[in-house]
Structures are given as structure tokens and as C-alpha cells.
Amino acid sequence: MNQLSFQLKGSVVTAIVLELYRYSRADFSAELEAKVRQAPMFFHQTPVVISLEKLEANAPSIDFTDLIALCRDFGLRPMAFKGAPAGLGEELQATGLVLIPAGQGGRATVPETAPAPVPAVAPEPEVVVRTVVEEKLVHRPSKIITRPIRSGQQVYAEGSDLIVMAAVSEGAEILADGHIHVYGPLRGRALAGVRGDAQARIFCQSLEAELVSVAGNFKLSDSLRELAWKAPAQVYLLDDTLHVGAL
């Protein structure tokens, strides 16, 4: 039975809702232009539902054809009016757009079905951005290096711990936002907690470093020589003082 030329299906389409409070051509045009300039691609060819639910009751009459034309000029594609006040029905119908009754297919359902990064309400995109950032703050895997880090090389574990299974040569530099573990001789420079994490520590099998640092507090090799030189050691911060202890 594949003879049908079409099939009707129910579907949810994500659209921006433009909630109109009041309308004067100049203000509306200026405000819309400012919004669009923030994210031109976001507003390009975007379907828009114009909501009149919050329209001021005693607002002067609006030239809706002009409003639609203005939206189109900025790349928006108005597709429907929502929650039209009584008395405006015929005027709105004349524009050719669909009329949706208030409280249907609106904010109540769209945020649940739409993917998170698409703001359901255009004027508050900042809120949505914040949610995305929160998702990225989840645990990041440690960076593991198995080959020697040579003089002149620099390895940075951004937002995580750094684990080096080989030697760190003199003249090499390793950095991590978290802890640093070195299972070969540590002869270069090691900086843990470079973004200020005072809890970060450096652990190594053989401490022969040129410099060790935790959250900006550092010690040079001369002072390390008296502490745990060429021995397994950890470096940590206690009361703003850098401690080096044998493991």
C-alpha cells in the first residue's frame, strides 16, 4: 500500500516565540536589529511565533503586515500568531499567518521536547548558555603520557591531572590544573594547580626537578637538594607554604 503520495504526521517544531508587549515601528526595529546582531546565524531563516498574550491592553492599533515584513527583513520567518486578543482575529487572519490559541504548543511543551541549546524564548539566551557550561564542568579524564618528555617540550593537562610514565628531561616543562604524577625521573619543571588549585600536589619517583610549583608557590632545585633529592617525594601546599616530603 505504498501508493499514497503523502502521509500526515503529528510533529513538534522548535520555534522562537516573540512576545510582543508594545509596538512602535522605530523601537521595534532598533531592538530587533540589536538582538540579531548578537547572533546573526541564529536568527537566520528562523521560524517565529508572534505571541500577543502579553500585549498591553490599551495599545494603539498595529500594522501587522508591516510588522511581519520587518521581521522578514531581519531574517526571521514569522509563521503564526499566538494568543490573539478578541477583536483582532480578522485583521490577523488577513496577514495569511496561522492563529494559535493561547497556551497551546507554546512554552509549556517546547522547552521539554526541544534540545537544550535552542532557547525557546528569544530575549533570554544567556540563561541557556549557562546550562551548557555547567554540563562541561563534569569530570575530565587525566592526561597520560608514556613517552619521555624531552628538553624544550611542554605538556599541559588542562582542567585535569597529568600522569607521566617516563622521564621528564631537564629543560622540559609539565603543567596541570590538577595533580601531577611522574613515574620516571623528574628532571625538568613541574607546575601543578596552575589555575590556582591549592589542593593540587606533585608526586614523583625521583625528584631531580629544576623547579616545582603548586598554585604559583615554587621551589628551585637548590632548595630541593636538601629535602628529598633523587628520592620518591610529594610536593604540596600547607598554609601557603610549599612542603616537600619523602613518600
Binding site: R150, S151, G152, Q153, S169, G171, G184
Partner: protein, 286 residues
């Protein structure tokens, strides 16, 4: 000069057939050119068709050490610029069969080397050579990077002193990051340590790093230890690869190194201070 037809430069993807060995160090004056000449000659002596390329454009030396400086007509840069064919520029060694030298240009600088040009020359050579030895210039700039980019094997020449060891460490870092093999996601370049100018009595006196010290810092397999020897200087001045001086310790040490490069197990020699007998001292046995 050999008689084969000049080939056409291969495509970028073409798998190189010859093994490409780069002799490099970072630091200057540690014995790269001497080692390139010795290793290249050693491979040719064992029957492998070998080409040694001087990448030190502007500071040409290899031709002097190989004793072919008066036979240089065209050079590496001429071939890259298509002013000469590879066969016109390759100099056939007079002493050792299977051995060819591609000299550097003395009148140009390192900018004359282009990645595509170098690749085209290596592709063409690799079609009927077994080994290509690239004699790298000192430093870590363009010339040195060009010499090691296409390498399959790296011989890192190091003197037993701290600055040379650190520069070698630096060049090992570049070998791990800036080679064709790394960029293509293939097996990394095989790294070998060649310790030159080694003087056991100065090591004993604490004036030089020991083999153990250098191995500990660089952590790569030891290909050979070449003892400090007047024979090396003498051979260089005569335009003769020291490996051909078979009675010298340096020559023997290079022969051992070539054997190890080919996968043979040879015990390391000349690492200890040798007590010279009266007669040996009298005859100046070196």
C-alpha cells in the same frame, strides 16, 4: 656515475623503499659528518647500495671528509631546483663500491631546501638505493628539521658533556613530534644513541660523563661508543672515512655500530681505560 635513467618524482603518498637514516645532534661539532661518512661507508662495505646526502647547505663538509671535493659539479640544491638530474649530481665514491655522495651547495642557504623538493629527491633515490644517510646540519631550524622529517631511523650523535646531551634531548623531542612518521600516525622513528669522542680515562677522572650517565638521561638504545682518537682527525684531513682505517679503535667502533644498526649483537668495546704495556706505549699503538 651510475647509468640508470633519471626517474620521475613520486607522488606524496608513495611509500619510500630505501631506509632513510638521519644523523643528527642539535649541537654542532660533535661528529655528525664524520659519523655520516663512516656509517654510509660501512653500509656500502656490507653490500648495501647507499647514498649520503649533505643537508648542511651553505656549510658543505661531507665532500671534504669523503675526499671528493674536487669532483663536485652539481649539488643537492641544483637537483631540487631541477637544474640538474640526480644522476648528474650524485658522486660515485672511488674507494667503496655501492657508495654515492650528494653534496650540499656551498653558495646557497637552508631556505633553498623545500619540503617537496627534498621529498622528490628522496623518493627518486629510494627506488634503487637500500640506505639513504642524511647528514643533518647543527641546530634545530629548517635545515635540521628538513633532514629528519622523512627519517625511518635516527642516529643521535652525542659527546659526553652536558650541553651536547641536552641538545640531543631536544632533538629527540623534535623527532617525536615533527616527522613524517608521526604525522602519518606510523611507528615512530627508531632512535639510536652514538656517543663520540669518548675518553675513558677522562671519565674515570670525573671530567666527562660516563656512558651510563648519558644513557640514563637520554633513555634510548646505545648504538655505539666511538673513542676519542687522533685517527679521526687524521682521516678527516685526508678525506678518508675513518671506518676504512681498520686498525684504529675509532674505525673498529664504527664498524661495530654499523653491525648493530643492521640488527647484529656486538659487545661494546673501548669503554674502559686500557693499560698500555711498555711496547705498546713505545709503538704508540692507537
Amino acid at each position: 656515475m651510475n647509468t640508470r635513467e633519471p626517474g620521475v618524482a613520486g607522488k606524496n603518498e608513495e611509500r619510500l623503499l630505501a631506509k632513510i637514516i638521519v644523523v643528527t645532534s642539535g649541537k654542532g661539532g660533535v661528529g655528525k659528518t664524520t659519523s655520516s661518512a663512516a656509517i654510509g661507508t660501512g653500509l656500502a662495505l656490507r653490500g648495501f647500495k647507499t647514498a649520503i646526502i649533505d643537508f648542511d647547505v651553505g656549510l658543505r663538509n661531507l665532500d671534504l671528509i669523503m675526499g671528493c671535493e674536487r669532483r663536485v659539479v652539481y649539488d643537492f640544491v641544483n637537483v631540487i631546483n631541477k637544474e640538474a638530474t640526480l644522476n648528474q649530481a650524485l658522486i660515485k665514491d672511488k674507494r667503496t663500491p655501492n657508495l654515492f655522495i650528494l653534496p650540499a651547495s656551498q653558495t646557497r642557504d637552508k631556505d633553498a631546501l623545500s619540503q617537496e623538493g627534498v621529498q622528490a629527491v628522496l623518493n627518486e633515490l629510494s627506488r634503487d638505493f637500500d640506505y639513504i644517510v642524511c647528514d643533518s646540519p647543527a641546530g634545530i631550524e629548517k635545515g635540521a628539521q628538513m633532514a629528519l622529517y622523512y627519517a625511518d631511523i635516527a642516529v643521535v650523535v652525542t659527546n659526553p658533556e652536558v650541553s651536547s646531551v641536552r641538545d640531543s634531548d631536544r632533538i629527540l623531542g623534535i623527532l617525536q613530534s615533527k616527522t613524517r612518521r608521526v604525522e602519518a600516525g606510523e611507528e615512530p622513528v627508531q632512535e639510536h644513541l652514538l656517543l663520540t669522542r669518548y675518553n675513558p680515562s677522562r671519565v674515570q677522572a670525573g671530567e666527562m660523563l660516563s656512558v651510563q650517565d648519558v644513557e640514563d638521561i637520554l633513555a634510548i638504545p646505545l648504538l655505539g661508543v666511538i673513542p676519542e682518537s687522533e685517527a679521526v682527525l687524521k682521516a678527516s684531513n685526508q678525506g678518508m672515512p675513518v671506518i676504512l682505517e681498520k686498525e684504529t679503535e675509532a674505525g673498529q667502533a664504527y664498524s661495530d655500530a654499523v653491525a648493530r644498526l643492521l640488527g647484529e649483537e656486538v659487545e661494546h668495546r673501548f669503554l674502559e681505560v686500557q693499560k698500555k704495556g711498555f711496547f705498546k706505549r713505545l709503538l704508540g699503538g692507537k
